[in-house]
């Protein structure tokens, strides 16, 4: 595992020194600060809007990191030929893929923690109180982005960063609506769609498992099962994707 952690910490360091991250960090900070703009125009709804806006923004920010950085981390290794000095060392394809995946995940964890901390400070500053229940969103986001990170790594095994980025976004948004997919056949009345819909329903990751924004903002009850499901579903699905990714990588050649 030391090889995996070495690759992960190198990937993390590389991402931290990436200009894109700096731009995203500035953007994230500005957008959270912008929630102030909404406060005066919605008297009586201030708390709800700040919470809703903040929690949603942190999710979008995580999504941007995965799409803009996660889809490039593997491709860059090949494009810049730095992979030559990795694969020729005692490193398996699984070590490499896991290391890159974990490196990006370290980054996501750190950024999510920073953004939630900033968000908490904003709540304290504007609302005078902190809604600790919102931290439930952090738990679900961490597993959501664990899975999305694996999706990005998997897709970037066989596509360019731009294609992988678009596909990752697509998988994310379709996955959010996963539970509506089955209704599609009933609503449209086109029974021929059922094979495709069933395929998409079972194959695409179901990101609605992690969608708890309404629950955390409106303090709706959340079952213990939903916590367990988010944890187990995310890890299991990510593991399968990473194993397939490492198999795909073992077929690769570096000319």
């Amino acid at each position: 595992m030391s090889r995996v952690f070495a690759i992960a910490s190198n990937t993390f360091r590389e991402s931290i020194r990436d200009k894109i991250l700096l731009s995203l960090a500035v953007l994230g900070f500005l957008l959270i600060a912008a929630s102030k703009v909404f406060v005066p125009i919605s008297i009586g709804q201030q708390a709800k809007i700040i919470k809703d806006f903040g929690v949603g923004l942190i999710e979008i920010f995580g999504l941007l990191i995965v799409v803009l950085i996660g889809t490039r981390i593997l491709y860059q290794e090949i494009e810049r030929k730095t992979i030559y000095s990795i694969i020729s060392k005692p490193v398996t394809e699984l070590d490499f893929v896991l290391g890159k995946f974990l490196g990006l995940y370290y980054l996501i964890i750190v950024i999510q923690l920073i953004l939630f901390s900033i968000f908490i400070l904003f709540m304290k500053f504007y609302l005078g109180t902190i809604d600790w229940f919102l931290l439930n969103a952090l738990y679900f986001y961490l597993f959501e982005f664990l899975l999305l990170d694996a999706v990005a790594v998997f897709l970037s095994c066989f596509t360019t960063p731009i294609t992988a980025g678009i596909l990752t976004l697509l998988v994310f948004f379709v996955g959010q609506l996963s539970h509506y997919l089955k209704d599609l056949v009933v609503v449209t009345g086109v029974s021929e769609l059922s094979v495709l819909v069933n395929f998409l329903y079972f194959v695409l990751p179901n990101f609605s498992v992690f969608n708890v924004k309404a629950n955390v903002v409106y303090h709706l009850p959340m079952s213990v099962n939903s916590y367990f499901l988010a944890f187990s579903y995310s890890i299991l699905y990510a593991l399968i994707l990473l194993i397939i990714s490492s198999l795909l990588y073992s077929l690769k050649e570096y000319q």
Partner: protein, 300 residues
């Protein structure tokens, strides 16, 4: 023990969207013994880099076999091998020191900063240890590239054009370092276009042409068997016209130079010079250079 044993290696490059195929290796056979410095020569596109990349697991062969260290598994082989690619590129965001720390960890090692400083000192990069790789010159990249091959204390070094891009001083330092690690018991396989360097440091060379090994041999043997002419230097003779039939003649002051092209007549000429009162100063057989041999092999 044979460190590398390659049998009938075939590599075909095929574009996934076009029917066009090109042959990288076409039945390459090659062996590298323990403790050798083996130089791989060949014109551009002959298959040198392809062979090295297959040995280092970057490419997969379409046929034939590569056996490393008598047949150990790929992970074990990679543990015992260091690779310097052609025109190496490393992580630009890391400093020289961080790069070596990273590569050390891939071997499960955790050397101290001081130990790594010593390694950087060997190639003259101690003062640049905290500079980012993005600021390194080509020569510096080549030097840190060689050090990273040694980071796992491997038994075999595979170096693809290790001397390219280096200035004369850098080339000399690199050659000295290759010789030094070889003296410490490491086997070295390297490719190069710079024939004089290959001639200077290799024990054995192989010439690849069109994906096949065209000639293999010890440098000494290849060059010894190819004496092209003999230069004789002598003095103390006035009448020398009779020597014109044996080769080119030149007189500078009292000293006379004769270049004999028919080397079998050497003894006869030497005997005659002595008999006529000449005093032999030197007899130097002129062998063909590796470059001449190389070009002749290509044309065969």
């Amino acid at each position: 023990m044979k460190v590398i044993e390659i049998k009938n290696l075939v590599k075909i490059y095929a574009s996934p969207f076009m029917r066009k195929k090109s042959i990288g290796l076409n039945g390459l056979n090659m062996e590298v013994g323990e403790g050798e410095i083996f130089g791989l020569l060949g014109p551009n596109g002959a298959g040198k880099t392809t062979a090295l990349k297959i040995i280092t697991y970057l490419l997969k062969p379409n046929g034939g076999s590569v056996t490393l260290f008598g047949g150990v598994g790929s992970l074990e082989a990679r543990k015992r091998m260091g690779f310097l690619p052609e025109n190496p590129t490393f992580y630009r965001h890391l400093t020289g020191m961080e790069l070596l720390q990273f590569y050390s960890r891939l071997y499960g090692r955790n050397p101290t900063r001081k130990e790594l400083e010593e390694k950087l000192k060997v190639v003259g990069l101690k003062d640049s240890k905290d500079r980012r790789i993005s600021g390194y010159s080509k020569g510096m990249l080549q030097r840190i590239g060689l050090i990273q091959t040694l980071i796992g204390d491997p038994d075999l070094l595979v170096l693809d054009e290790p001397l390219s891009g280096l200035d004369p001083v850098g080339r000399r330092e690199m050659k000295d370092l290759i010789r030094k690690v070889n003296m410490e018991g490491k086997t070295v396989l390297f490719s190069s276009h710079i024939l004089s360097d290959v001639e200077a440091i290799c024990n054995r060379v192989g010439i690849i042409v069109d994906g096949k090994m065209k000639k293999v041999g010890y440098i000494g043997e290849i060059l010894k068997s190819e004496i092209r002419y003999i230069d004789i230097e002598f003095e103390g003779m006035e009448k020398i016209d009779w020597l014109n039939e044996y080769g080119d003649l030149k007189k500078e002051g009292k000293v006379i130079y004769l270049r004999i092209k028919d080397t079998e007549k050497k003894d006869k000429v030497l005997k005659e010079i002595s008999r006529r009162g000449g005093k032999i100063i030197s007899v130097v057989p002129q062998r063909q250079s590796l470059e001449e041999h190389f070009i002749r092999t290509l044309n065969e």
